[in-house]
Amino acid sequence: MDPAIGIDRLSKRYGSLAALDNLTLEIDRSEIFGFLGHNGAGKTTTINILTTLLAPTSGSASICGCDVVADSMKARQHIGYVPENVRLYDSMTARDNLLFFARLSGVREPSQRIGEVLAILDCPELATKRVGDMSKGQRQRIGLAQAILHRPDVLFLDEPTSGLDPLGIKTLRDLIVKLNRTLGMTIFMNTHLISEVSKTCTSIGVLNHGRLAYRDTIAGVLARFGDDQTLEELYLSLTPAAAA
């Protein structure tokens, strides 16, 4: 069986700047993968390539065996994506927003599926609420709902907890784990905090200036660094040259 995500010597250059430099990574199905990195490390570039929004300069990437460049339409059928600070259409209700994305994704019986998805995310009461009237946490749930409507194999989350209050962070974390366990989705999330990934992820990768600096299971990470270190501290441990 193909891995959920396969990345092989992936590079992306913007002029002389290498945003990604020979990144090779494989993520198995049903993993929750935390992708860490400082601002500008190349995390969002990686997600943009994997979600078919951006073409790489060299190398290749695939989602469930579908090449993200050569077979992008098929790859898109396997992915769901929640960008940072997802907003959707403010003037439309959650149901109308979801109906729109369900139709674009070719979901059969979209109304029924919307009901199911909102039930999985514990928010059926949000269906008739305008997205513009929602709290950030509620919007994040509807953002998640649009991403899983077509039952993707891989869910990409870009800084999913950004701007959420502690309760919102915990709720979202629980939902991510629930999606992984109940629907078997592979989850790829960009984030900043080790404390966050330690409670959610099964494995992590650390990106430093476009290169993969570290890759391990969460058990391995906790054994090595503990669960209260910040990304900065992890970097200092991983890249002694930076500390000096």
């Binding site: 403010d90 674009l104 070719g106």
Partner: protein, 328 residues
């Protein structure tokens, strides 16, 4: 997987729904209709005043026992009353197009939804086609309402029923207006998809509108020697048309420059074509429709060419990832 036509219909449907919900279309169309009605009313009042002057002159001559054979009664061509109407479609219609085009891209970029849409199994072409189809439906609907009310008002104001030939002429101008307003929609849409900052895109779109719709035709008009004196300089000087043409031959370069400035403006092409078809321009008044269209075919080609060129550019240009979400 959804079929491509179904995806295009989904995007187009949302576009129409959005525009109706936010009242953007009804507000702009309402303003266009209001302006058009005011211009029709003003034209009819002017015509009525001209008629009253004629009646007073005639009565005066008759009361003095003089002949009225030399007194020419004012000619009445109801379609000529549409002059101001066409000018308002030219100016406000272009604004309607730009606003719809800007909105079509801005609503997606501002909410990061363009990024979400482009990660669905939906081609860029289908997305753009859906946007174009939805907004063209809105433009056609808005212009149809404006032209239908214009024709109705013309009938009510003039009291003369419009014949099938008149309605056909109005329908042809309506079709030209769709191309014209559609081109400004494409301009607003392309700029709002391409510029890093959305306000800059809107600013550039209105700078283009100002240049092509207001400034270029105005320069052309100002440079026209016939517009230097009220009623026309040659007519005031009593110079006949053949002599006028001879005189203008000496100013061929000047005329070429003046014409080129006007040719640069799609508004002028729309105006020239519409004025000819509706018989607003005297030389075309009462001429067979086919002859008029043949004579002004170049303007129609220009309108068609600008619209088709912008559509081709829209579909040929790749979407820039840096322009899919919030402003950079």
């Amino acid at each position: 997987m959804t079929s491509r036509p179904a995806q295009i219909a989904t995007i187009a449907g949302k576009e129409i729904h959005d525009a109706l919900r936010t009242h953007v279309l009804s507000l702009l169309t309402g303003f266009l209709i209001l302006a058009a009605m005011v211009s029709l009313t003003v034209s009819s009042i002017a015509l009525h005043a001209e008629y009253l002057t004629y009646v007073q002159s005639r009565d005066l001559l008759l009361s003095l026992g003089k002949s009225i054979n030399d007194l020419v009664p004012p000619a009445f061509f109801p379609l000529k009353l549409l002059r101001g109407f066409v000018e308002h479609v030219e100016i406000i219609g272009a604004v309607l197009g730009i606003v719809l085009g800007y909105r079509a891209a801005a609503v997606e970029r501002g909410h990061s939804t363009l990024m979400l849409i482009m990660t669905r199994p939906l081609g860029r072409t289908a997305f753009l086609a859906g946007k174009l189809a939805g907004n063209m439906v809105l433009i056609v609907a808005g212009l149809a309402a404006t032209f239908a009310l214009g024709a109705l008002a013309l009938f009510v104001i003039s009291g003369v029923g419009l014949g099938a030939a008149d309605l056909l002429r109005i329908a042809i101008v309506f079709a030209a207006a769709i191309l014209y307003v559609g081109s400004f929609f494409l301009l607003g849409f392309i700029l709002a998809l391409g510029f890093a900052r959305l306000p800059t895109a809107l600013l550039v779109a209105f700078a283009v509108w100002l240049t092509l719709v207001l400034i270029a035709p105005q320069i052309g008009d100002t440079m026209d020697p016939d517009n230097q004196v009220a009623g026309g300089v040659f007519r005031k000087l009593g110079i006949a048309k053949p002599e006028e043409k001879e005189i203008l031959k000496s100013f061929a370069t000047y005329e070429t420059i003046r014409d080129d400035i006007e040719q640069a403006s799609p508004a002028k092409h729309f105006e020239r074509f519409s004025f000819a078809v509706l018989g607003i321009k005297d030389i075309y008044n009462g001429q067979p429709l086919a002859d008029v269209i043949l004579d002004r075919l170049a303007d129609l080609w220009w309108l068609l060419g600008i619209f088709a060129g912008l559509v081709l550019y829209l579909f040929a240009r790749p979407l820039n990832i840096a322009r899919l979400s919030k402003e950079q």
